[in-house]
Structure formats: structure tokens, C-alpha cells
Amino acid sequence: MDIKYDFSSEFAIPISYGSSEVIETGKWGFEKPETAFMTAPCQETCPAGNAIPQFLYLAGEGRSKEALEAILKENPFPGVCGRVCFHPCENNCHRGQYDEVVSISAMERYIFDVTSNHHPDIHPISNADSKQVAVVGSGPAGLSAAYFLRLLGYRVTLFEARKELGGVMRWGIPEYRLPKSILKEEIERILQLSIDVKTGEKVGKEIPFEELDRFNAVFLSSGTGLSLSLGIEGEDLKKVWRGGDILDRINSGDKPRIGKEIIVIGGGNTAMDVARSALRLGSRVIVAYRRTRAEMPAIEDEIREAEEEGVRFEFLLLPVKISVLKNRRIRVKFQRMRLRGWDQSNRHKAIPIKGEFLTLEADGLIKAVGEGVDLSWIPETLSKNSLINVNSSLTTSNPKIFAGGDAIDQPRTIVTAIASGKKAAISIDLYLRGCTSEDVFSKIRVGNKGALSMEAYLSGRNGGNWSELKEVISYPQLNTLYFEHSKRVEMSKLNRNKALKGFSEVNLGLTSDEAGISASRCFSCGTCNYCYNCYFFCPEGLISLDPLHQTKTVDLDHCKGCGTCAKVCPRYVVLMKELS
């Protein structure tokens, strides 16, 4: 330091023209701030372990391409999930305890929509031995497994019995919820990683199962394929259809003539899809369900939209007999039910009210009471309880055969199927590298609900240097003093009259303004979103932030460890660590 001691007059005071930086005040401290990210509850609850706070931050900054790439690290289907996922993430959003949850699903869709035609910077890692893996079935599980196996460097052959890829996304979900063009774009992005595709030939039929022996590993993701029957008289009548068949026909471009008045049996997503599709075909629709609205397994959004569009619901009705009238209409006799007790899955049980029946007439009936897994084409040893049997790492009784999606025992949703594809890809990689004994899954978990991080897997896979596990952040750990109350942003919708005229997409997505507001509502629990609180409040001005490269540095030579940065961080990202 260059201090000038001026004694030229008695009015003088000492002045320094050097910098006080030479004084390493950081040596005085007992604690140092550490940036430690945590897992947000949304991220933990997403079966795919999506880095939600991160992609919302990037989207909010207008960095949509980076946001897309952040999603694609864990989930190859942002366009699909942004439209049809049941978004459990939103049920656990901490913002819900403050005012209203963030519109995560709509944001995922927005990111996909605005980055359309963008070629993401995603490449397979180099894998010299490049073994071959067969994937049977191209639904969300199969395509995800193929995608992640490809990223892990394997040569993948994808077998699909139908002429087009997509499985339930292609044939089961109506156009007004998931336009085919969106699905096509997502599948094309996956296929760009060079995946060998064989369509129109069914394994177990045109292709013998033994044909799969030449692969180093096999992933079975054949979905369900069988419609469950009601087991009642009249079920095989001409005007009684299976929900899956109707959706398949509509999704194949057909417009089945189902009549003016239709009864749909069931309370799941297929029932809702069928009911709403029937409205679009010009029918009046009654949905009959044996429990009440609260027990319906369908996504809440779908039930609400069906109600809004004019589907009539009749609850506590179990069909017992279907017959044909002279005027060729059908008559359905229902047993009236009541709720009593709970079943194994903690749902109310419905039991008959003795002697009480109801009869409804209609032009046709569509049954949508669930699907069974077609196991006829696989060796008997692979199945159990009408499902393909797998252990926790998705391995069947044959160590080189793995399975996932709706064919195994897990919730039948798109995102759980995607998650099983990812998990299977990791299992297959571990198997092919002879690392099955290592407990890798606990090292790459996202929270405690089963989600896995492919990014964590890729970073630790080679050297075994696994990144530190992030704990799940609790609501009280947030410093909500820095947040302002605001309303959740909802997508606008096609008006009802227009919507019912055809199969145009109902949800219209967010505008860029709405997306900006929506992204900024995210508390970014446990993930730095460069709010600059620490920067502004640091009394010493020692913090440098670089949002572009997402880095943060603290000048520890001068940090006295006052802890202000940790106190003012709204998202619990800065922690004070005692110096040893």
C-alpha cells in the first residue's frame, strides 16, 4: 500500500493511493460460503428427473435452446410431455404453499414449441466396442430406451409391429391433445442419432423371438395390446366397441360412425379420450363409472376438460347386461353401487346396492375399462401375474433381457414409461460393461422417489467419480421474503364450439409474454437462477456471477465469512461451511 503521510500543514490527513486488496481479510473468517445446489421437489417428483428449475431459468432468460437441451438430457419428449403428461411435478411445487403452483407443464411445451426446427447439441458418447441392443416396441419406453442407449454409444435396432413409430402416443392419444406433427418431430429428433428401425413386422410373428438372440441385450417395451373385457352378457354385440380400437381408428384417419348417443364405460384416460373424441364425431356422450369422480384414475385436467366440453357423467354404475332393442339401439342395465371401505391401492371400493338398477339406452357403447398385456409372443419364463416380470433394475429372469413401459408393473403413464426406458438403458449399459454388482442407482438418484439422472450417470460412469448427491429442499429452507405473490399463468384454449368441430389441438400454449411471467414465478428451489441477491448484499463486493456460463465465484481471499450471502439467498443455494 502506498500511504502518503503529509505533514506539510497541521490540517493534513493520511491518504492511501494504493489498494487495500493486499490485506487478505479472508484470513479473519471462520466460515466460508459454499454454493451447493439442492433437488427441487418438482424435480424429485418428475419420474424422468427433469431439471425443472434449470430449464425454467433458461427459458425465462430467453435461452430456449439451452432450455431444450437441458430437458433432453433427461427426457427425449418435451413436446409430448408438455402436452399430455399428468405433471406430478406441479402437485409438489413449493410455490403452491406460497400462492399458486408454477405452470411447469405448459412451460415444457412452450420450450419445445419455440425451438421447433432447432437441432440440439446432443451427441452419443464414443463407445469403441459398440455392442448391439434390440428394442421391441416404439412407445415412450422403447423410444426413450433407444435414445439413451444411443447416447451411451450402443448400436440400436428398434422393432415396431405397426407401420409407424410412437406406440400409445401415436395410436392411443387423440390429435386434439397431441398433434401427430409434434410426435413426428420428436421421433425424428431421436432417429437422427442413427437408430436402425424395423417397422411393420411383429416380433413373435413375422420375426421369431429367437431372432433377438443375436443382440447383446434386448429391451422389451411392447405395451399392453389387450382390451380387458367387462365379462357380461351382450358384450360382443355389434354396437359395442373397445375404447382402444376406436382411438386407433380415429388416429389412423378413420371417422367411425358410432351413432348419436354413446355410452362410455370407464373412468381412466382412455375413457376420457374416447368420450371427448365421440363428442367430436358428433355424438352425445354419457360416461358411466362405477365409483365417483374423486376415484377416477384419469388426469384431473382431462376430466375437467371433458366436463367443460359437455360429457355427461353418471357415477356409481356397474354395467351388468347389454341388449339390442328393435329400433337397433342398445339398452344397458346398470347395477347401482355405493362406496364402502378401501381396496389395496387405497381407493374406495364400490359395492352393489342390492336390488337397485338403472337402465340407459343409446346408439352404441364403448368400453374403456383397462388394458391387459399381450404375453403370447414371449417365453413364459419372462412373465408373472399377466405382466412381464422384472426386478428393480428392470432385468427379466434372462439377464440379457430387460423390460419397461406399460408391460411391466408400474403406473401406466407416458412419463413413467420414459423413466423406465432411461433406467433400462443404464441397466443395459451396466450389464454390457459387467458392472451389475455396483449400486449405481443410489448414486444417480434425483431425490427419493425413484427418478434417475442420466447427466449424473454420464459424468460418473467412466471414472466412478459420482457427483455429490443433492438433498431435496424443504419449503421452510426457502427465504420467501424475497418473493412477490402472483397468479399462476394458464394456457388459453380453443373455444368450445370450435374445439368440438374437429380434432384441432385444444390447448393453445403460452405466448412468449406469458412464458416469461410463468418462468419468473419459479422459486428455483435449490438452484441458482442468478437473482443477484448475494451479489448486491455482499458487503465486500466479492461475488462474481456469470449467468451465461452459469458460474459463480467468491473472492475467498477477502471473504470474512459474514454469511450475508447465505441469509439473503431466497433459494438456499449458499451455505456457510465452517473452516477446519
Binding site: M1, I3, K4, Y5, F7, E10, F11, A12, I13, P14, I15, S16, Y17, S20
Partner: protein
């Protein structure tokens, strides 16, 4: 031009007349009217400076120090808890040799809470290195602000003037307002040395060695001492320009007095009246008004009180465990005088209690009746 106004507004008017470019303050009763008046003039454009509203008195003083180091005249006003909060920065101001001028409206210090006149707030800042002047009325407060700049800018030391809550700050009196041209002549615009210079960045108050610290303190002591002469000279120049002067002390009917009442601040004007009556009754009594408190005018006081028999110092303050603060200072000043008078400490007017001519007469009669020295302060209560 004469105007009827409060002591607070007289102070504000003086600040405007001195063309102070930077005022930084925080409101506090009973000082707030100064703050409000200056804000009003800033809004109307009559004040050519910046009225900076800081978040505390500590910050107000920090702002004044920093601004002064960039070369401009600065002002702040405060009171009681405000000056207590400012304490740390008062040392910085004196140590940085900045000629900041501050008006302190004397108000008691909590606890218990109150707003009334008491000199303990400014006297508690005795050792901060500030020059301190005590004003008797609104006119003197106005004139002292103008004099304060002239003193401060010659010695590069901050000056505090004190006026008592309500008795001076809020009572309205006729005040003779000096003309702007004459103030400009007496106190021309100034460009203080730029200690802060953007072309040559540096920082003040670096760490210094023990010896250097001692050296700077010693230089400051020499400067503060020189104020005794400078203040007299400035007052004389002021009298020449404006026709009014106050001296650093003011002897009243002292020549033949045997007993002397010593006061500072507004009690002086009451004492002037009481003395007249006591004189009429044939008592050889006089009055000494203390105006400059820091530096303490030891020599002037010694000369003024030479040969007197008894002194009664009336203090509107108390240093608990000792006595009236003006009395302590006076005793210390007289200790080297041969045959120095007996000095009695009377505590009157604490917490804004009224000191009437009758109270002063009682004190005078009491001191005249005493023949033995008394160390302890004598509290003047209603039943006294």
C-alpha cells in the same frame, strides 16, 4: 430586515445565506423544522443546494464528511438520540479535518424518553474534537452558523453550535436577517482542498502506526487550540460587517462584582434580568456567559474571573457521579489562578424544567450565603 421567527428557522435561514451546496440530515424532534424548512426551499428552488435525506444521522454525518472531502461546504442538523447515533462519525469528521457545520438542538437523552431541553446530548460529544458553541437565542443561532463556517474553514475542523429545545428552537423572536451580499462578502464561496479526486483515486483513513497516530492527534490539538484566537477574530470581523458580536465569552457587569453567575445558552438571557434586580437590591453580582466550549477559553475565563470571591455555575446538564459539566470545566480552568474563587455547581433546568428569574435569584442568594467550598452539585428543585 427583521422577521419574526423561531430559532430553528433562523438556523435554516443562515444555512441558505451561506449557500451551502450539500445538506444531509435525518429528522428528529425538536430539530425537524430545520430539516423541513430546508427541504421546502429545496423544492421551491430558493435553496441552491442538495437536501440529502439519509436513512440515519450516522449516514448523514458520513455523507457530510464525504461531500466535504470533495471540496464543498456542508451542513447537518440533529438532536439528542440523533447526535448519540452519530457519535462514531463525529470522531471521523474531526479526524478527517472536514469543516462540516452542524446545528444541534439540545434535547435530553433517553431513558426515560422526553423531548425537553437539556445540554447533555452535545456535552457528551465533548471529546470528539469538534468545536462547540452555545447560543442564547435565535439571533445568535443564525449569526453563529455564519461564524461557524468562517472558523471551520480556517482550521479544517468541524463546528457544532447548540441551541436549546423549544426555549430557542421553537420560541419566536424578532431576528435581524443579514443581507445576502453582506454574507457573501463575509463568507465568500469556497473550494476546499479536494481530498477525494476522481483523477487520483485513493482512500482516506488507512491504518497508521502508533507514532503517526500520535503525530496527527498532536497536530489536531494545535489546530483546536488556535480556535480560541480565530473565534475571537471571526467574531470581531462579524461585528464589523453586521454590527453584532458575541465574543467567545461575555462578561456582564463583572467589573466590580464579587459573586458571579456563570451560564451557557438560553438561561443567560433570564440571568441578565435577574442580575439587574439583584444589583438594584445592592448585591455586587455579575454574569459570565460561556459561548465557546471547545476549545475551552481557559485564558479568557481566568482573566474575566480574576479577583472574584464566589462563582455559581448553572448547568442544564449533569455528568452523573461528578456534577455540572460547565462547572467542571470552569474549575479546571481556574485551578492555576492564585486565590481562585470558590466555585459552586448548581444543577437547574434539567429535562427542560423552567429556570425563571426567581430561580436564578435564589441561586444567587444561596451562593452569597455560603462560605465553605462544596464539591457536590446542588440540585435546584421546586421546593428548594
Amino acid at each position: 430586515m427583521k422577521e419574526f421567527m423561531t430559532g430553528n428557522h433562523a438556523v435554516a435561514r443562515a444555512v441558505r445565506l451561506c449557500r451551502t451546496p450539500l445538506i444531509a440530515a435525518y429528522p428528529i424532534t425538536p430539530q425537524t423544522p430545520i430539516y423541513e424548512k430546508l427541504s421546502e426551499w429545496e423544492a421551491s428552488g430558493e435553496l441552491k443546494g442538495i437536501m440529502m435525506r439519509t436513512e440515519s444521522e450516522h449516514s448523514a454525518m458520513a455523507a457530510c464528511i464525504a461531500a466535504s472531502l470533495t471540496g464543498v461546504r456542508t451542513f447537518t442538523a440533529t438532536s439528542s438520540q440523533g447526535i448519540a447515533l452519530m457519535h462514531e462519525m463525529l470522531h471521523f469528521a474531526a479526524g478527517c479535518r472536514v469543516p462540516v457545520v452542524m446545528a444541534n438542538v439540545n434535547r435530553l437523552l433517553a431513558a426515560p424518553w422526553g423531548f425537553w431541553a437539556d445540554q447533555l446530548d452535545s456535552l457528551s460529544q465533548r471529546d470528539t474534537g469538534w468545536i462547540q458553541l452555545y447560543c442564547e437565542n435565535g439571533q445568535e443561532s443564525l449569526d453563529t452558523v455564519i461564524q461557524a463556517y468562517k472558523i471551520a474553514e480556517q482550521v479544517y475542523l468541524p463546528v457544532m453550535l447548540s441551541l436549546e429545545a423549544f426555549f430557542v428552537s421553537h420560541f419566536m423572536e424578532v431576528v435581524d436577517l443579514p443581507e445576502q451580499e453582506r454574507v457573501d462578502r463575509f463568507l465568500p464561496p469556497i473550494d476546499l482542498p479536494h481530498k477525494f479526486d476522481i483523477d487520483k483515486p485513493g482512500f482516506l483513513v488507512p491504518v497508521v502506526s502508533s507514532e503517526l497516530y500520535r503525530k496527527y492527534k498532536h497536530m489536531a490539538q494545535i489546530s483546536v487550540d488556535s480556535v480560541k484566537e480565530i473565534a475571537v477574530r471571526v467574531d470581531q470581523e462579524f461585528k464589523k460587517e453586521f454590527g453584532r458580536g458575541y465574543g467567545i465569552i461575555e462578561p456582564v457587569m463583572l467589573d466590580d462584582a464579587e459573586v458571579v453567575i456563570v451560564t451557557a445558552g438560553s438561561i443567560t438571557s433570564t440571568a441578565r434580568l435577574a442580575i439587574k434586580d439583584l444589583r438594584k437590591q445592592g448585591n455586587k453580582i455579575g454574569l459570565l456567559k460561556l459561548r465557546l466550549f471547545r476549545p475551552f477559553p481557559v485564558e479568557a475565563v481566568r482573566v474575566a474571573l480574576r479577583g472574584k470571591k464566589k462563582i455559581a455555575v448553572i448547568d442544564r446538564n449533569i455528568s452523573l457521579g461528578c456534577g455540572g459539566i460547565f462547572c467542571q470545566e470552569l474549575r479546571a480552568a481556574l485551578v492555576h489562578s492564585p486565590d481562585h474563587p470558590l466555585t459552586y455547581s448548581y444543577i437547574a433546568g434539567i429535562g427542560g424544567t423552567d429556570v425563571t428569574p426567581e430561580v436564578i435569584q435564589k441561586i444567587a442568594l444561596d451562593v452569597m450565603s455560603k462560605n465553605e467550598p462544596t464539591d457536590a452539585p446542588i440540585w435546584v428543585m421546586e421546593d428548594y
